[in-house]
Every structure is written in structure tokens, then in C-alpha cells.
Amino acid sequence: MRLARPLEKLISELEKLPGIGPKSAQRLALHILRQAPSEVRELARALVEAREKIRPCSRCGNLTDEDPCWICTDIHRDGSIICVVEEASDVIALERAGYKGKYYVLNQAPRFLESGSLENLNIDRLLRNVVTSQVKEIVLATNPTIDGELTARYIAELAKPVGLRVTRLAHGLPVGGDIEYTDELTLRKALEGRQEI
């Protein structure tokens, strides 16, 4: 079936987005066609503006519209602790968790098999620019995958000789979870990391 050229173009652009298949793309496109022109213009402006104004912070790598970002410049945050994460989305998660220190965002999930090296991970920049004299601790919050683990160990090796405390996020039970339904590996990790109350 042939569609009007602009509609076809819109659908194929939407389809490029992650999580959007042909059907969703079509639904979204038709929805946009029904919207008021002003609303659509708002959406288009928001897309372009976000893309143009937001870039990685030159200090921590977090996504920001002002450089350095608001986290780096916030004097009320604890500057003695830096949390290393893979992606900016991890910052959002840790912010929700109430973390009050600073960040360092690698901005690329380490994919060791494809890149074959840890050298392009901006880790040197972390140690050169971000770790100042007031930093006491680095928290490694990379994912518990092989590549995440490898990255964490790599950073730990580089940071320890500098005299920093290096820690890794704990594995364990989800809060509000049910012991009965927890898989045995997680449960074992939780048992290993048990704490006195």
C-alpha cells in the first residue's frame, strides 16, 4: 500500500527510535497528525532544543545544558565521594535513591568484546580532572556484568595507588522483596554481605 510521502517519512523516522516497531510508529504518526499544529510545533521545538543544548558535562560527563553541570557546581553536595556509572540514566536512578555525592559518567556501556580495549573509556580523564585533593572515595556503580566488573576492577587498580578508598555497590535482596522468591545466587550474595543490626 502507498502512503502519502510525508506520512511515510514520519513513520520511518519514528521507527528508528528504540522500542518503537512499525505498528507503534504508525500509531504515533497518526496521533501526531490529529494534534493541533501548535502542539506539534512544541514537540518539534523540544526535540531540536534538547538535542542542541544538552551535551555531556566536561567534568563529570552527565547530560547537561550548562557546563559544568548543576551537580558539579552544587556546593551542598559531598565532594569527597565520586560515583562512577556507565550511563546518564544511572545518574537519574541514583538521584532517585538519594545519593548526595558527585558523579563520573563513562557515557558508554563498556562493550569490551567489540572495542577490545578499556583505553577509550575516559578513565584517565577521571583521574586527571575529576579526582581532586578533596576526593576521598570512589564508588564503582558499573553493572554486574562481565564488562561492568572488568571496568570496575580497572578503575580500582588505577585509583588505589593514588590512595583513594575504592568501593563497589553491594549485591543483595531487593527491598520489599520476598526471600522465598529470590534466586539462590542473589540470596547467597546477600548472605555473604549480611550486616549486624
Partner: protein, 366 residues
């Protein structure tokens, strides 16, 4: 664990099968290409969600149909479970346990152990066959082993990647080697443990199956040290680390990781000589049967119940006497077994059920 009802719809050449198997031995008799293996495959898919033959789900659906549906009722540790595996080309696969949608949960799921003529080459065949024999048992009884195995495999391919590119000077190669050794240790310890446990079982089963009284020893063979058998975790870790260090030059030449659990093996000794090289065909086959049966009892001692035993055309590969002894053993073993065979005269007595398969339909004898 025993299956007391099976329903199969539109699976391969089986359009509709309803069957109430015996708790002991079930014999599936039929000519070639009538659906015997398809029936065993259906049980296997019910348990594991995928086939043991290289086939996509779409290929398992009967020609001209859009979906297959498998149902099984089984009982384990005094509890009944209704398991359904449904696949349709449109909606994909849906698994239900007791009418609730589910993923394959480990606890109480249907467990089967498959024995095909290929497994008869367990003793004689290449080492990877024996390694995957051990890995399969250990992953089936321990999620932790499976986790370590996945980690090991992932680390190994990353390390090999660096060796391929000849980048071994960097910190990452050293870290990968550390991680490789760390994930290798639990694998090797578990395998050594398993091999030692198998030894006694295999010996007594072998004697029963053959009437021979030969002395049997099974030894795990490390690729990175002549020492084997009882190595402790710290020893394994040190040995592997040192061996990898020493083999660096060779690894660079071959561009791959040469030592580790992915190169280990185990050997079976009959009267002191390696059955792989010195055993007769018959002895090797009997040892393979003994290894499979030993897995059943080991499973029982680790999990508290037997899996269901599926034997595909194995009988045809054994001589008259060994066949009789195997069947006698199965009839008294206390677990449920499904055997496919061309020859219906193999069983006498009444502790079993016989089913005839012809053109995709199954009828019970009598």
C-alpha cells in the same frame, strides 16, 4: 518425579496424543519414521522449552498447522503440577504451570535426562563431549554453577579476543586473566567433586550391567597440571595462574587461551588402563550407559528425586545380554523411563506399559 498424563497436539507428526504412562518403564514400539523420537522430543520440550534437535519452534509445529500444544501432569515430592507449553507462530511461546503463566522456574520444574545413541560415544569421543556431560549435570542441579560457567565463557572469549589481537601487555589482559582464574576455580572444584562421586556409582552400575568385575577408576584431568583428583580451591587457583603465566608465549603463537576448564577432561580406567584407548567398543558403550544411569542416582541424591529418563533407540545399539541387563535395571530402578525401540520382544514381565506408535498416533497395548 513421574509423569502420569501427557497430551500432545500438532507437534511434528503427532496430531493428537493422549497417554497415561506407567510409573516405571514405558516402551514405545514402532517402525522407523512413525514418531517415536518426536514423542520423546515432545517430553523434552515440555521440560526444557526447546528441543534437543537443532530445530526452531516453527519447525516443531505440524505441517499445515499454526501452533502446537503440549500438556503434562507430573508429580514430584508429593505435589502435582500441570505444565503447558504452547507455541503459536503468531504469539510465540507461552508456558503455564498450574494454569498460571510462568517462566521456567527451577524449583519443581519437570526434569528429564535424555540418552541418545550419540551419548554412547561419551567415553570414546572428543573431550568436549565429556565436558558438556559434566556441565549439563552441574547446571541442572546448581544455578550457581550455571552462573560461574556463563561468567567463565564470557571472560574467556574476551581474553581470546586480546590474544587474537596480540594485545597482552595492557592492564586489561592481566585483569581478564585474574577474572578467568577466579571463575575457573568453582567450575573445576565442582567438576572434580562430581567425578569423584560418579566413580563409585559407575563402578557398581558397570558391574551390574556387564557382569564383569573390573576395577573402575574415574579421574578428572586438569589441562594445566598433571596433578588431579583432590585439588583444593587455592591450589587450583595457583596452579592455573602459574600455568597461564608459563604458557604466555605459546598462547600468543596460537592466539587463544590454551589452559583452563575449557580444555579439561576426565578419564575412565578399566583395570588401570584408559578405557578411551584400550577399552573394547562394548566396554565403552557399557561405561557410557553406566555414566548416564549414575547421573540419575546422583541427581536423586542431590535433589531428592529422580528426573524422568528418556532413551532414544539406545537398545538397538546394545547386544542381547547388555540389553536384558539394562532393562532389568530400569524395571527395578524406581524412576520413570521412556524407551523407544523397533523391537517389541525386548521386554517380558508386567512392570511396564507398551505403546505402539504408527503414523503419528499412539495406542496402548491390550
Amino acid at each position: 518425579m513421574k509423569i502420569d498424563a501427557v497430551e500432545i497436539n500438532n507437534f511434528r507428526n503427532l496430531s493428537r496424543v493422549l497417554m497415561h504412562p506407567a510409573p516405571g518403564v514405558n516402551l514405545l514400539v514402532g517402525k522407523n519414521a512413525q514418531g517415536k523420537t518426536n514423542f520423546l522430543e515432545a517430553l523434552y520440550v515440555l521440560a526444557n522449552g526447546a528441543s534437543f534437535r537443532p530445530a526452531r519452534d516453527r519447525d516443531l509445529v505440524q505441517v499445515g498447522q499454526a501452533s502446537y500444544l503440549l500438556r503434562g501432569r507430573y508429580r514430584v515430592v508429593e505435589k502435582d503440577f500441570n505444565l503447558t507449553v504452547e507455541f503459536s507462530c503468531k504469539r510465540g511461546k507461552i508456558i503455564r504451570v498450574n494454569d498460571k503463566r510462568s517462566v521456567f522456574h527451577r524449583q519443581n520444574r519437570l526434569q528429564v535426562l535424555l540418552f541418545t545413541p550419540d551419548d554412547l560415544y561419551l567415553v570414546k569421543g572428543p573431550p568436549e563431549r565429556r565436558r558438556s556431560f559434566l556441565d549439563l549435570i552441574l547446571s541442572q542441579v546448581s544455578a550457581e554453577y550455571e552462573h560461574h560457567l556463563n561468567r567463565f565463557t564470557g571472560t574467556l572469549s574476551r581474553r581470546n579476543n586480546l590474544l587474537k589481537k596480540q594485545q597482552v601487555k595492557g592492564k586489561d589482559f592481566q585483569l581478564l586473566t585474574d577474572m578467568l582464574v577466579q571463575s575457573a576455580v568453582p567450575l573445576v572444584s565442582a567438576r572434580i567433586n562430581l567425578v569423584n562421586r560418579l566413580e563409585t556409582e559407575v563402578a557398581s552400575l558397570y558391574h551390574r550391567l556387564t557382569g564383569e568385575q573390573s576395577e573402575i577408576k574415574i579421574r578428572y584431568a586438569l589441562s594445566f597440571s598433571p596433578k588431579a583428583g583432590m585439588a583444593s580451591a587455592p591450589t587450583i587457583s595457583d596452579l592455573l595462574r602459574q600455568a597461564l603465566e608459563a604458557a604466555r608465549e605459546q598462547e600468543l603463537n596460537r592466539r587463544t587461551t590454551l589452559l583452563g576448564p575449557h580444555r579439561d577432561d576426565f578419564n575412565i580406567y578399566l583395570q588401570g588402563s584408559n578405557a578411551k584407548t584400550y577399552g573394547s567398543q562394548g566396554q565403552q558403550r557399557s561405561l557410557a550407559v553406566a555414566l548416564k544411569l549414575a547421573t540419575m542416582s546422583l541427581f536423586k541424591s542431590l535433589k531428592g528425586y529422580f528426573p524422568v529418563f528418556l532413551l532414544d533407540e539406545v537398545l538397538a545399539e546394545l547386544d542381547e545380554q547388555r540389553r536384558r541387563l539394562l532393562l532389568d535395571h530400569l524395571c527395578g530402578a524406581g524412576f520413570q523411563a521412556f524407551l523407544s525401540t523397533v523391537d517389541s520382544s525386548v521386554l517380558t514381565g508386567d512392570r511396564h506399559k507398551i505403546f505402539f506408535i504408527s503414523g503419528g498416533s499412539i495406542t496402548e497395548e491390550g
